[in-house]
């Protein structure tokens, strides 16, 4: 598609697509990054390596851009975030290394599978863990337990199964470094399902961690020449603007319907990525 477009046309179309991706990502809480790579590769015919580089940059933009709103609310847990970032950053470096050795078809197939999981995870509403759980030894040692604001005042919670959560976070880091995405779905899985952290805390802490995880692999991508300024520019500006607009209209939006629509779109893109990967076209 891009072969007929000149630079100005290409930039504007990519910026518009990224804007929509960023807005949907912010409205549904899935992040814009998951659709940027399929959008660039499947629709605009961009090489997957350039697409991953541009996506990674946009992931940092949305994470850091949204942090102010999240942090003010007082939900995120700095200790949980920082402790788990050891796992995600080491994972991200491993993933970025791996990206240099794997064939792009394999990367496309892994991408499709992760996208399918994200679409599936988006249909599940998270529930808070039952109250009155006993404290966990490792979590106590690491001072991970905390409290968060609710309608009935501050509520304290105990963090569970730290080693499992840490392991899943390493995986989230590898996927983030390999695919140039935020891996928000895996991060929330680790914190919500494994560590039994209340969902408001896990979603905000996850956002907080995504930027740091992406920064760990960004340096490697930059030096490999995956980050093209001409392509990353419209993607980053588009996703960022879309995410900001999405956050503004979020209170009045019909999020449930949007989530389903976005989930279906993601699933379709995922299947197409896997198909093209198997055919060796990506």
């Amino acid at each position: 598609m891009n072969s007929q477009l000149n630079t100005l046309e290409f930039t504007l179309v990519v910026a518009l697509g990224s804007f929509v991706a960023g807005m949907l990502g912010s409205l549904t809480g899935l992040g814009g990054g998951v659709v940027i790579v399929p959008l660039l590769t499947l629709v605009f015919g961009v090489d997957i390596r350039y697409a991953i580089g541009a996506s990674l940059v946009s992931v940092i933009a949305t994470s850091s851009g949204a942090a102010a709103a999240y942090l003010r609310e007082g939900y995120s847990n700095m200790r949980v975030g920082m402790f788990l970032e050891i796992a995600t950053t080491v994972g991200a470096v491993c993933g970025a290394f791996l990206a240099g050795y794997l064939h792009t078809s394999i990367i496309a197939i892994v991408f499709g599978v992760v996208l399918l999981y994200s679409a599936y995870a988006s249909t599940h509403t998270l529930t808070d863990p039952p109250e009155g759980m006993a404290p966990d030894r490792i979590a106590t040692m690491l001072r991970l337990d905390a409290s968060y604001p609710t309608a009935d005042g501050l509520k304290s919670y105990h963090v569970r199964r730290v080693p499992l959560g840490f392991g899943l976070m390493y995986l989230a880091g590898v996927l983030s470094g390999l695919l140039g995405i935020g891996s928000g779905a895996v991060k929330v899985l680790a914190m919500d399902q494994a560590m039994k952290i209340p969902f408001k805390v896990s979603t905000t802490t996850s956002n907080f961690m995504i930027g740091v995880t992406a920064a760990a692999s960004a340096g490697i991508y930059l030096r490999r020449g995956y980050i093209d300024p001409g392509l990353a520019m419209p993607v980053m500006l588009g996703v960022l603007a879309g995410a900001l607009v999405g956050a503004k209209i979020l209170p009045g939006a019909k999020v449930r319907t949007l989530r389903i629509v976005f989930g279906v779109v993601i699933a379709a893109l995922a299947i197409e990525m896997i198909f093209q990967g198997v055919r060796g076209k990506l």
């Binding site: 891009n2 477009l5 000149n6 630079t7 100005l8 290409f10 930039t11 660039l40 015919g45 961009v46 090489d47 390596r49 350039y50 940059v57 940092i60 933009a61 994470s63 850091s64 851009g65 942090a67 102010a68 999240y70 942090l71 003010r72 007082g74 995120s76 700095m78 200790r79 920082m82 402790f83 970032e85 950053t89 470096v93 970025a96 290394f97 240099g100 001072r143 930027g211 740091v212 992406a214 920064a215 760990a216 692999s217 960004a218 340096g219 490697i220 930059l222 030096r223 490999r224 020449g225 980050i227 093209d228 300024p229 001409g230 990353a232 520019m233 419209p234 980053m236 500006l237 960022l240």
Partner: protein, 136 residues
């Protein structure tokens, strides 16, 4: 940190919450600055080469002067449009690094030395991947 220490810290305004609010503002300004630099570089780039045909279909990799931090800074100072965009992207990548750096200070103010060390580990890894030749 004991309960008493924590209360004292809250009274002295050095708690997680005030550190977090400061960090949030820092990140937002960092992102806005980065976006501004990328935008200026982008408009300039488009003004100069809007009618060039683009080809991202085949991966060639970026030229050396858009890959390494010192070269990018030099290109930006020389006011090359692509160098400016790349410099804006570097500023963006630096925002989470700054967040980690300030978290070290935040934990130090709380006298939580275990987390000072854990956070320094993350910081060291980030600085290493950004400045060394790792992965190429």
């Amino acid at each position: 940190m004991t309960g008493l220490d924590r209360d004292a810290a809250v009274g002295g305004k050095v708690d997680d919450k005030s550190v977090e609010i400061f960090l949030g503002k820092l990140l937002r300004w960092g992102v806005l600055l980065a976006a501004l630099v990328v935008f200026v570089g982008g408009v300039w780039f488009l003004a100069k080469s809007y009618d060039v045909e683009q080809n991202y279909r085949t991966f060639r990799g970026e030229p050396a002067d858009l890959r390494a931090v010192p070269m990018i800074v030099r290109q930006a100072i020389a006011l090359r449009p692509l160098g400016l965009i790349q410099f804006g992207l570097l500023l963006l990548i630096a925002t989470p690094v700054a967040r980690v750096l300030f978290s070290v200070l935040g934990f130090a103010l709380e006298r939580d030395w275990m987390y000072v060390i854990l956070t320094l580990l993350v910081l060291a890894l980030l600085v290493y991947t950004l400045t060394s030749g790792a992965g190429t």
